[in-house]
Symmetry: C2
Subunit: 385 residues, 2 copies
């Protein structure tokens, strides 16, 4: 998966975007108390990313939960464009997805789009990107995703699972649709042109695999929405349930205004960063604070535009009360940026230490996540002639 | 494989085209005594389709034969778009390919492009086209192609063999190249846009499978040439030998001027036609003869524009001397069309009877032709990380 370049992509430059406006542009719905209460009914409690509206908009989440309640088969789907090592911005939706998986016991289909990242990359070789796909699986393992219920599809190697579905999708999409949806031009390579069929195919794949209509919920950044609009449009004519979505906001990088991005590695915390390096990155980070401690005490800081505060809010402070205290301590000048950063740096370092230990252990059982080790290719299921 | 619609496609309407002109347009080379003598060196004798220049142009055939002589690994590649049952126009290059395989003992890779035919078809379902792929394999078996040396790749089901190569090809082809080469427009579906990567991938596949540079010769109609031009252009940068080609003329249909085509079933002889029906088709066929027997005796016929004569020349008369006698008997009015047709009808019916018996027997061992029953997917060969 990749941040596409559709006609409107404010998130390419901004993480502190007007998410209300994005919802309107994309025609999604804001997450309301209605869906949240429905979710609580099946999960018992609410994840911080729901309580704080980090996941903030959706399409048919209510219908997905109702399908789950009524006993229909349900599945989760998310993914990753494995162009490099994983950073905290990537794992944000995975943390939530793991929580959903734990609470609901449903299978997760996880797509590694090594093909697409190769097509999109200026300089990386296919072999390099394919190797990162395996590195990235280690992060899924370290986050504790259940290998019995987490099925990783590496496009270039597991294409046989998707291609029979992609064939039918491709027939229904013209070049002009692709151009309009993704902003492709005549100088785009034909891999990029074809690729959306594969991202869409995974949304239909569980129905093929299980041989029964399967309701798929996709937790992902809203930048992936163009794919799902096509997936929803085509689903009825291809005989699949419409995939449903829940969209998350993007984790800001440690500088001013942008999302955490591999293009600015000094402002992104990688899961493979040595903890001491990660600490330094946090300590050097931009904040919403005043230029001096004196001014901060006098005027207070602005947590609403502070990537350090956002790190607490989106990942590193589980306790709502403590988060609230931090917010007002900053606002009122009682909390200085140095102290706030030092505490975050320590939490990040602790997280990384544990994550990296689990990550290395996972090398011994990485194959348990690969779909090809668990299921036969779907051609085996299909009746022939 | 399919007759593409590049900018210049006279064969769409005509079988009696100016083949010299086509050679010039495509920048291929006419088959000369030089290549023919070289071929005789390795095959011992010459197939009628070479002696009569049914295979009439090429790209680097001489280099391919020299590679074969010098002991380098060589392979053959051809294919079929399985949109329906096979007719005599389809099997013409397969007959020659079988002969090459017998004489040289090389492996043949045979692509069944069920994906592309589905993308191209207005009305047929994927399942229907996929089923024809298996029907068409029966014809390969009936023609006697050696299952140990004939490896059929059905695109939709054997995609895993091709996709890792197709990924690298797709990155090097822009949309504008595709439009210029194949005449695609913005209303073309994105399956068609992507498909050429798969037809090209098979030309490189033997090198991946055997793990050594493999020289591939493609016997096929000249209408497939646009694919091979791209395949040859890209080969050096992707590290594969340039595929070589030998082009054949198209078998005319039994009416005036067109190639044998599924769009005019009454003028095409299918391998599945009951022999009596095939006889009737021949007897109703257009000829180069005069309107009446009297005029024929007086003025003679014109075998050069006669599809009945072409059937003898291209498939059904092995003996050059007898073919020559038939030609002049027609020209001088000694042979009447009814007699000539009746003899052909008998030969066609005999051929079909035997072919159909072998065809039905082949149902028991069809899987011996499938590449997936013989080789593991190439990802198993590739070193990873």
């Amino acid at each position: 998966m990749i941040s596409q370049e559709p006609q409107i992509t404010p998130w390419e430059a901004e993480a502190f975007v007007d998410y209300e406006k994005l919802i309107r542009i994309f025609g999604a719905k804001p997450l309301t108390d209605n869906e949240i209460e429905l979710l609580r009914k099946v999960t018992g409690e609410l994840h911080l990313m729901i309580r704080r509206r980090i996941f903030y908009s959706h399409r048919d989440l209510d219908k997905w939960i109702e399908a789950y309640i009524s006993g229909r088969r349900c599945a989760l789907y998310t993914g990753r464009g494995p162009s490099g090592h994983t950073h905290l911005g990537h794992i944000l939706p995975w943390i939530f997805t793991k929580w959903l998986q734990d609470k609901l016991g449903v299978d997760l289909f996880f797509q590694m789009t090594d093909d697409e990242k190769f097509w999109h990359s200026e300089e990386k070789s296919y072999e390099e990107i394919n190797a990162y796909a395996y590195e990235n699986i280690l992060d899924l393992a370290a986050l504790g995703l259940d290998p019995r219920k987490t099925h990783v599809i590496i496009d270039s190697e597991d294409i046989a699972f998707l291609y029979p579905i992609a064939i039918k999708i491709a027939k229904k999409i013209t070049l002009s649709t692709q151009k309009a949806t993704f902003g492709f031009t005549d100088s785009t390579n034909i891999g990029m042109i074809f690729y959306p069929t594969l991202q869409i195919a995974v949304a239909y794949f569980p129905t093929e695999l299980y041989g029964e209509p399967t309701e798929v919920l996709i937790p992902a950044g809203i930048d992936q929405d163009p794919y799902w609009r096509i997936a929803r449009d085509l689903a009825p004519s291809l005989g699949y349930p419409k995939p449903t979505q829940i969209h998350c906001k993007l984790l800001p990088g440690l500088d001013i205004g942008g999302k955490m991005s591999a293009s600015k590695p000094e402002t992104a915390i990688y899961t493979t960063d040595p903890p001491e390096i990660a600490k330094q990155k946090v300590m050097k980070g931009y904040t919403g604070g005043q230029p001096t401690a004196e001014l901060q005490k006098k005027l207070g800081g602005n947590p609403d535009i502070c990537p350090i505060y956002k790190m607490y809010e989106m990942i590193f402070e589980e306790d709502d009360k403590k988060l609230n205290e931090r917010y007002y301590a900053c606002k009122t000048g009682k909390l200085l940026c140095g102290e706030c950063k030092a505490e975050l740096a320590e939490r990040v370092a602790q997280f990384l230490k544990q994550h990296q230990q689990k990550r290395e252990k996972a090398r011994d059982y990485i194959e348990k996540y690969l779909i090809r080790t668990k299921f036969e290719e779907p051609r085996k299921y299909r009746t022939k002639r």
